[in-house]
Amino acid sequence: MFRKQFGNLSRVSTHLSRNVLAARVASREAEMSTNAAPAEAATAPPVVNEFRTGVGNPGEHSEVQIGKFYTIPMQEKKQIFSGGGLPKQYEQQIKTFTEACLMVRSPALELLNYIKRADLSKPVVRYVLYGDNGVGKTLSMAHVLHYGMLNDFLLVHVPWAPNWMKRPKESANSASQEGFIDLPFDAAAWLVHFKTQNSKLLERLQLKTSKEYVWSKRESTPAGSSLIELVEHGIARIKYASETTAALISELKQLATAGQCKIMVAIDGYNAFFHPITRIFSDNKQRVSPDRITLTQPFLDITNYDWTNGVCILSVDKIAMTEGYMESYLPRYLLGKEGFEHLDPFVPVHVGNYTEKEFTSYIKYYLDRHWISKTQPGFEEQLKFMSNMNPYTLMQLVRGL
């Protein structure tokens, strides 16, 4: 009985966290922080601490803020990440801590610097994030996505590519291309995600298609219709969702090259497209390779360097491989010959374990949020030893403390 009340309350608490709780949390933080910032009713005021920074816009982050946390406001977080993009455990953490805090780290900063200084009229530069398991590639990408959203980039974001290869909701034979398989539900889900991320921008920019798309005898999308219509068509008619994605992406490429919008492509787990097999079975019960899936083609297309006015951020991961155990986390090994040739040249960005400063700041954040309750003298060193400064291991270790 007790449980049920609190079960309800926890749902209530997420409601509250958006508005009222933010104020309460803010007031609590204000008590704790040295600079008591005036509490505003709607948004939590930025509190400056040794592990927090007040700068909310990733565009303004610099080396001063390395190791500090900044908060992503809840609306923006919902807008960017409602279709995925943040790890599951991180989502749980956000719910418990009632705020979405990201740490500013040097790989993300490096990427942001490149993007800021990039000359968008030149062909697209591809950045590849790589690193061992659990060092923070996905969250660095999230950081860059946040920047992209705030700076009017159109986001083409695939939260986790291997999901399409390993766990498709449903696979069907493609209508338009012979021998290909498309994934209707996944494509539709991606279109929904795209829409949530970019609806405001699309409305503002009023982008139009350049040619007509014929889906079947009776359905077609005329040239000059807005991209939002195209997207909605794909969501409504799931059967044609994969083809819609292909069409959408080719449109986006043309529009970007024409200079009407800038695009940020972010794909997590890119090496899934180059693994020899997937877990999808064709009609004759054989496993197919990724290039027989309709969804791979547009995303391989958009990561080419034959368009301008955009940025490509990819990440390669050991656990993104569909089957088997990968020994190394280096891009050349994970992408294989094909993938490497496709992506060559690219800028590799290495994401590593925490530095001392980042580690201490993380521990302080946890203490602030009451997540660590065993604070005997020397516990930090023990955690450092046991986790070897790896962010994921640290999170797992601290769960039970």
Binding site: G378, F385, M386, N388, Q396, L397
Partner: protein, 396 residues
């Protein structure tokens, strides 16, 4: 009749006489007696011719024969031992008169080198009293009348011992009473030191008493001795008690702590080789001015995927407070993750001894970090499903 009585008395007296005589004489026999005071050389005096006609029961006859055989046997063995000792001394070119047992052991080890692991299996030459187990003397005379009053308990020496303990205890009680009446207190300085001693374990007690003892009886003995030792005036019976105490080895000073060497970068280091735990084998190097880095087979601590194994590596470093101060390198092979972690943990603990003070070493020993964990997988037995688990018992 009187002659018979006389012969019996003669026998009795002679027995005591001979016992005393043997006890007082010096020679190889003394050592044996020290080991088994309850066993004496069997003696059967030749009785006067008149009494020999007395009918002896068959059992008694057989017993007497056996006793005589054993006696003769021991005498020949002793003779052979003496002759052999002289020969050995001549071979080694030493003086036959002053050839001690240690010299004999050295000589045998030199002449017959053996690669056998168990020391008891190697060739040795010892006096027959040590080699052959002590036997009891004649417990009853020719007529079958036992000498010891407690013979019919079956274990006269043991029960005599228990009686002695009780007697001592009563004496001490009386003493305490008398002292209390006078207002005196027991002398604190003379209190019995029991810390480094343990009561004789069961097998050794059996050897001393030349009798087989059951577990319950041994427990009775233990309880009685403990009570005796715990009395305030127990130091008065020190001589009696110390006969049944066995000194324990001082554990803390047992193992030598090696000195750290210096490597090319000028850091002190210690390597422990052959750290075994359950089929895993590890070599561990600990370097002193370090940053807390760990390397296992070239990888960092993520070589172990389970948290428990990592905690094991953390244990000795954290306990001895050397967590961020030393670097550890380990090479490990064989076994599974748990065994490997245990092997490395032991290696780290043993290496850390050289960098830590005596008190901390003692603490580590009490925490069980320095003991070699010799537990191995228990073997499966036939008729059972596993090592301990039996097959399901079905009533029919």
């Amino acid at each position: 009749m009187s002659l018979r009585v006389l012969s019996v008395n003669l026998l009795k007296n002679n027995r005591n006489f001979i016992q005393n005589a043997v006890r007082n004489s010096k020679g190889p026999g003394v050592q044996a007696l020290a080991l088994a005071p309850y066993a004496t050389q069997v003696t059967v005096q030749a009785t006067p011719a008149a009494v020999q006609k007395q009918k002896v029961s068959k059992a008694m006859k057989a017993y007497l024969e056996r006793a005589k055989e054993h006696d003769d046997f021991m005498k020949t063995q002793d003779l052979e031992f003496q002759i052999g000792k002289r020969h050995l001394a001549n071979m080694m070119g030493a003086d036959a008169e002053t050839f001690t047992q240690e010299d004999i052991d050295e000589a045998i080890a030199y002449l017959f080198p053996s690669g056998l692991f168990d020391k008891r299996a190697r060739p040795a030459m010892r006096s027959p009293e040590e080699v052959f187990p002590a036997r009891k003397a004649a417990e009853f005379d020719e007529t079958g009348r036992p000498f010891h009053s407690m013979f019919y308990t079956g274990k006269p020496n043991f029960f005599q011992l228990l009686h002695d303990i009780v007697e001592e205890t009563n004496k001490l009680y009386d003493l305490e009473e008398r002292m209390l009446r006078r207002g005196n207190k027991p002398d604190e300085n003379q209190k019995l030191e029991t810390a480094g001693f343990q009561l004789l374990p069961k097998d050794q007690l059996e050897r001393v008493l030349v009798e087989h003892i059951a577990d319950i009886e041994y427990q009775n003995f233990t309880n009685a001795m403990d009570r005796l030792i715990s009395l305030p005036y127990s130091y008065k019976s020190k001589a009696f008690i110390e006969r049944y105490l066995k000194p324990l080895i001082d554990q803390s000073k047992q193992l030598e702590v090696p000195k750290p060497k210096i490597d090319d970068q000028g850091r002190q280091y210690i390597t422990t080789y052959e750290c075994l735990r359950k089929t895993a084998r590890a070599d561990v190097t600990v370097r002193l001015p370090g940053t807390g880095k760990i390397t296992i087979n070239g990888q960092d601590i993520s070589y172990f995927s389970s948290e428990e194994c990592k905690e094991q590596l953390l244990f000795p470093l954290n306990y001895s407070e050397m967590l961020g101060k030393v670097d550890v390198e380990a090479n490990v092979e064989g076994g599974g993750p748990s065994g490997q972690a245990g092997a490395i943990r032991w290696g780290i603990a043993m290496s850390l001894r050289s960098f830590v003070d005596q008190e901390m070493i003692e603490s580590m020993r009490l925490a069980g970090l320095l003991t070699r964990d010799y537990r191995r997988r228990e073997r499966k037995k036939y008729g059972q499903e596993g090592a301990r688990r039996k097959y399901t018992w079905k009533k029919r």
